[in-house]
Amino acid sequence: MTATSSRPSADDPRITLDQELGIFEPVPPYPPRTEREAEFYTLGDGQMFINMGPQHPSTHGVLRLVLKLEGEQVVDLDPVVGYLHRGVEKLCENADYHHTISQVDPLEYISALFNEWAPVMAYEKLLDVEVPRRAEYIRVLSAELNRIASHALFMGWMALDLGGLTPILWSFIERDEIVEMLGALTGQRMLFNYFRIGGVNGDLNHDFMSRLGDWMTRATDQIEANLTLLNTNEIFVRRMRGLGTIDGQTALQMCWTGPNLRATGLPFDIRRAHPFSVYQELDFDIPTRIEGDCLARYLLRLDEIKQSLRIIDQCLHRMPDGPIMAKLPRLIRPRPGRAYAAVESPRGQYAAYAISDGTDQPFRLRIHDPSFIHLQSVGQLVQGQLIADTMAVMASLDPVMGGVDK
């Protein structure tokens, strides 16, 4: 520790910092605030802390995990969030209702259409607007496309976190095609800013429809073919099966929703449980699996892709003619009140709770993000597992740090 060299280096922290040299321990510099914190930051015999992130090849953004290790085994885990906090909710309070749509866009940046959908629905409830049916169908169509893109990306990341290099790029083929398609429809590839209060920004155009038609003819086969590399791979299946198992009761207690909950056998889907938009008119199944482990969560998303393709097919067949925007004044001043709206995003229940005080800016916009809810169970799921499994469990929950940190 006292490596004295004749030529002092500018990188030597002793020159700039007057603190004692030592290995950096991830213990916070303040006294423990809770009992849990006091218990976690006390090392037992033969244990050590290791800091995973915020700069780490596979923490899905800027999540920091403090692992308490005993050899390779994870004794306990503490996810530290907030590195990507941008104060979106506060920004929304100082923007007018139309502006908030673009403010919430980069939350769950993998599936941005759902970010717009929930607040837009809440505002529509505040305003008592009826959205034209064509606009609702366009919303469902584009959102389901976005869901497929998100799930395709998830499968690639899953494999990448287990050390497979190729699947991520193969799944990017599908994602890129969809993203280009949505780019043709909305004008942007990632943060669409497409949904409007009372409708959508633009009608379906030729570029989008021809791309969609091309893609739909081969989508099912191509997605299946791309994933044969993983689904039948012995190493992949053996690492995922029985890992991070959770039963339905515990998952409910931890407030899980979405594919992660359905992988434990509970067929809870906002699209069916509290139908919004035109989902009631559409025919689709809610795939479930009973195992509740990482493999179930992975395979369930594959089934969901197929159901999404069914929904898109029906949307294309039933798409009515008509306007795409409701008649609304340009400056919106909803009556004072509160409204809640939830959508089924690729990660679970994505909800917005808007409070209006009668001005043209929301008094409060609360965003409920499923990634944050799922992330708090990582510690339970990986207890007693190995370091390598931490990444697998993390990836199988599919958190997006933009949504977690807001």
């Binding site: 780490h56 290099l165 193969w170 791979n233």
Partner: protein, 447 residues
């Protein structure tokens, strides 16, 4: 001194190049003259210590060989995995990006060579050297072609396993001295992994040794001469499978690349390394891939033997017999060949200027000439043919390693250890006993 510096500064760039060339030429001429004058005692000295000279020469050649080998394999890996990922891969530097790994090599040379505070500096510096030297030293015993090997030892195989086991010491040193928990985990993982897989690796070739009755790699290759059915793979299929899996783990390659699992422990033992010290680790990894492939080929796939006995083609033509005509040929053939090869392009494409046709003709003539020389060497020089077959087989296995890297995910540490001790070790013991029993049985029946 100022005079020299001023003169040098006044020179133009071509002038500096010319001056440099002039000085170099002078030095070389002087060295040549000195060599000629003192040729007799030098030759005497070399002749008296021939084995030592041969060893030093072989060691130098092998050390120099590792760098282009590593460059080639790194390029292969980048390009092949890119094609498997439906990407283009490197395509900027050189034709098809083939010089990119050279640029990578220059890059690691120019980066800052950083030692983290708190690291155990001597051990930290020594670790890449140990790892790199371990892989280079194993190359000494591999027979590349008839007569083309560093040292023909009667215990070559034992030497190989002993030295390649040293590599893990370097990884452990790097992991321990880095003052980083990821490095520590990587180093300990590599120690556990390599020591576990050493056991089935060595046991899997014992069956082959019983069959061959020798540990000399050269003799092993000679034993497999003839048709491809004489290769040991047909007598030791299980041994080959175990050897290949264990060798993959020894070389730290996917799916057993836990020591540098980037999604778990960042870069394992190499997390704190930068610059050329990291470059040594990097080179050692790819040289290890080559070595493991080369040893697989030597043991199980006939080494430098052709898969079938080549028909003897006796060249009736001896260039030496031409005398002065050879000189005239050397002067005339390139010109005539270039013109002949350029003619079709010039005559059949009216839009092509003559100089373009000449350039095409010149390139084509070079290709033809190189092919002709290589063909002549392949037919008349035994070691060229042997080297060609050896490299062909070895790079097939290198390709398989790259293919596995592009396809397979990584196993977990407990699965890795369980696989070694629960499956590979019993299987290699079974292979050993069955082979020994069969050999005894054949000997009894034959006697």
């Amino acid at each position: 001194m100022t005079f020299v510096a001023r003169t040098w500064n006044r020179l133009t760039i071509p002038g500096r190049v010319l001056l440099g060339l002039f000085l170099l030429g002078g030095l070389l001429t002087g060295a040549l003259i000195a060599l000629i004058i003192f040729s007799e005692p030098i030759l005497e000295l070399l002749g008296a210590n021939l084995p030592l000279v041969r060893f030093v020469g072989a060691a130098t050649v092998v050390l120099l060989m590792t760098i282009p080998t590593a460059f080639l394999i790194i390029y292969m890996e980048m390009k092949i995995i890119a094609l498997m990922n439906l990407r283009l891969g490197p395509d900027r530097v050189g034709p098809f990006g083939s010089l990119l790994s050279v640029v990578h090599g220059l890059k690691v040379l120019m980066k800052e060579d950083f030692t983290p505070t708190g690291a155990d500096a001597p051990v930290f510096t020594l670790a890449p050297v140990v790892t790199y030297l371990a892989s280079v030293m194993t190359l000494l015993v591999i027979p590349f072609a008839p007569g083309l090997f560093g040292q023909d030892m009667n215990i070559a195989l034992l030497y190989f396993f002993a030295i390649s086991g040293l590599g893990v010491v370097g990884l452990l040193m790097g992991g321990w001295s880095s003052f980083n928990k990821y490095s520590l985990l990587g180093g300990l993982r590599s120690a556990a992994q390599v020591i576990s897989y050493e056991v089935p690796l060595v046991l899997s070739v014992v069956g082959l040794l019983i069959l061959a009755g020798t540990m000399s790699l050269n003799q092993l290759v000679l034993n497999q001469a003839g048709w491809f059915t004489d290769w040991y793979i047909w007598q030791q299929p299980l041994g080959f499978l175990i050897f290949f899996i264990a060798a993959t783990a020894e070389a730290n390659r996917t799916p057993f690349d836990l020591t540098e699992a980037d999604s778990e422990i960042v870069a394992g033992f190499a997390t704190e390394y930068s610059g050329m010290r990291f470059g040594f680790f990097f080179f050692a990894e790819y040289v290890n891939v080559f070595i493991v492939s080369a040893l697989t080929v030597t043991l199980f796939f006939g080494g430098w033997n052709a898969p079938f006995p080549f028909p003897e083609i006796a060249l009736a033509f001896d260039p030496g017999s031409l005398g002065i005509a050879l000189l005239i040929l050397v002067a005339v053939v390139p010109v005539v060949g270039t013109l002949i090869l350029a003619m079709p392009f010039y005559l059949l494409r009216s839009s092509m200027p003559f100089w373009q046709a000449l350039v095409i003709g010149f390139v084509l003539f070079n290709i033809v000439a190189v092919a002709a020389v290589l063909g002549w060497a392949f037919v008349s020089l035994e070691w060229v043919a042997g080297l060609l077959w050896f490299m062909l087989k070895t790079y097939t296995f290198v390709f398989i390693f790259v293919w596995m890297r592009g396809t397979l995910p990584r196993v977990r540490i407990d699965q890795l250890m369980g696989f070694a001790w629960k499956w590979l070790l019993p299987a290699s013991l079974l292979n050993l006993f069955v082979t020994a029993g069969a050999v005894v049985l054949v000997r009894e029946l034959g006697a």
